[in-house]
Amino acid sequence: MSMNNEFKPKIVAFCCNWCSYAGADLAGSSRLQYPADVKIIRVPCSCRVNPMFILRAFEKGADGVIMCGCHPGDCHYSTGNYYARRRMTLLFSMLEYLGIENGRTRVEWVSAAEGVKFSTTMNEFVDKIRSLGENVRLGDLRCKD
């Protein structure tokens, strides 16, 4: 299907074990397609996602990072996603402030029942990253030469 020279973004998706990872499983068992560019890392809760992980991904060449968790109010651990929400809001705002295209990061709340939402979200996100192109700026932030 895809052309050889087509831009294939590297996209990391952090998914919480209880809702969004299960949502991704449901997308799978419902055969809802989304691009292979997305690779999922399972974490127990969105509050396990350290901003350092996200920056690390960018540093190692990721073009987009998305974090999915349970809907606010539905966190398996009651409150984890509320902390995650604040952390990610501030991190994303900082990245935007540094001039990084703000579409490269995203948070989406996906429940275990939302296989369709998972797949739609991933399709949208991949489209967005494709439209942004390769991630040059983040890798470039402190290159002296």
Binding site: P51, L55, T89, G99, L141
Partner: protein, 325 residues
């Protein structure tokens, strides 16, 4: 200043305190540095408190808290926020501190004077805390020059949080209101830039960094026993590698680690040998926290939960960042 020395000697003599934490004269007239004083003589000989005593002594109280007996510490109004924050984090022992809140008429930045084109500086007078602090006389190799005190102040003094001590046992000396700029004006200016302009701006600034860690060492919020950048908790500890993740992201992560805890004391920018305006990172977080979660000033007290360890059910979604364009 003499009053401070007298009072310190008195407290030392009475045994109320075992040592004094203050500023000692440097080799030049404008580079005092933090120091312990354990005798009346050393106080008489070396103690100084003037416009160049910008250093925030709060962080030194972490070590002082481990020593026997109380330590007398001089804290400027803005330093007391850091002290409170350190109490909140159980890093200093209030019982081990005798705090004299000292007045402040704005602290000076020798780099600001140099930036005015003043070369060959030998001495600066007019920075005495007892003077009116309006004009400085700079003695140089090329003769005397007069500069306005305000023009020579540190950036942080222009956006001063106020001259009230948040915590202390007694207050000495008068202060002078120095706030003449909006705290977030610089941030707003950057926010208004195009993404490419922002990127170029920060790239230029961050490229100056030599990873000397001066910012980290001076920061009262960076008080970890061992910094994550020096431990192997996230990665192999390979500090030398300039290409590593930490090297690139050091400042973002550092700012994130102190977000909600940074009192905006401005020490990072003051000590940066490369003149990187590091406070722009921390203050951006402060501004965002104020906007998204309500105004919060770290160190205003020693109990309130920080904004990153709290939440409300209807906090803004991260998409607010993308939506605002």
């Amino acid at each position: 200043m003499q009053r401070l020395i007298d009072r310190a000697k008195e407290l030392l003599a009475s045994g109320e305190v075992a040592r004094v934490l203050g500023w000692k004269k440097g080799d030049l007239g404008f580079n005092p540095e933090p120091s312990y004083f354990e005798t009346a003589e050393s106080l008489d000989n070396d103690f100084v408190y003037d416009g160049f005593c910008g250093a925030n002594l709060s962080k030194y109280m972490i070590e002082a808290s481990k020593k026997d007996g109380k330590t007398l510490v001089f804290l400027k109004p803005c330093d007391t926020y850091s002290f409170n924050q350190l109490i909140k984090e159980h890093r200093v022992d209030r019982e081990k501190a005798y705090i004299i809140g000292v007045g402040c008429k704005g602290k000076l930045d020798i780099e600001a004077i140099k930036a005015m084109g003043v070369k060959g500086i030998l001495e600066v007078s007019g920075a005495d805390i007892n003077s009116d602090c309006e004009t400085l006389t700079v003695k140089t190799l090329y003769g005397d020059k007069e500069v306005s005190y305000n023009d020579a102040m540190l950036e942080r003094c222009h956006v001063c949080k106020g001259k009230e001590h948040q915590i202390c046992d007694e207050v000495m000396l008068d202060s002078r209101d120095t706030k003449d700029a909006e705290r977030f004006a610089e941030i707003e200016k950057i926010e208004a830039m195009s993404p490419m302009e922002k990127f170029e701006f920060f790239k230029k600034e961050l490229s100056k960094c030599i990873r000397c860690n001066a910012c980290r060492n001076v920061c009262p919020a960076c008080s970890c026993r061992k910094c994550v950048f020096d431990s192997n908790k996230f990665d192999e500890a390979t500090k030398a590698n300039v290409d590593s993740f930490e090297e690139k992201m050091f400042h973002i992560i550092r700012a994130f680690h102190v977000a909600g805890r940074c009192t905006d004391c401005g020490e990072c920018s003051r000590v940066c040998p490369q003149g990187i305006p590091l406070h722009l990172f921390n203050r951006k977080f402060i501004k965002d926290i104020d906007t998204f979660y309500g105004e919060f000033q770290a160190g205003e007290d020693s109990e309130t939960k920080g904004p990153l360890t709290a939440f409300t059910f209807d906090d803004v979604e991260p998409s607010i960042v993308t939506e605002r364009g």
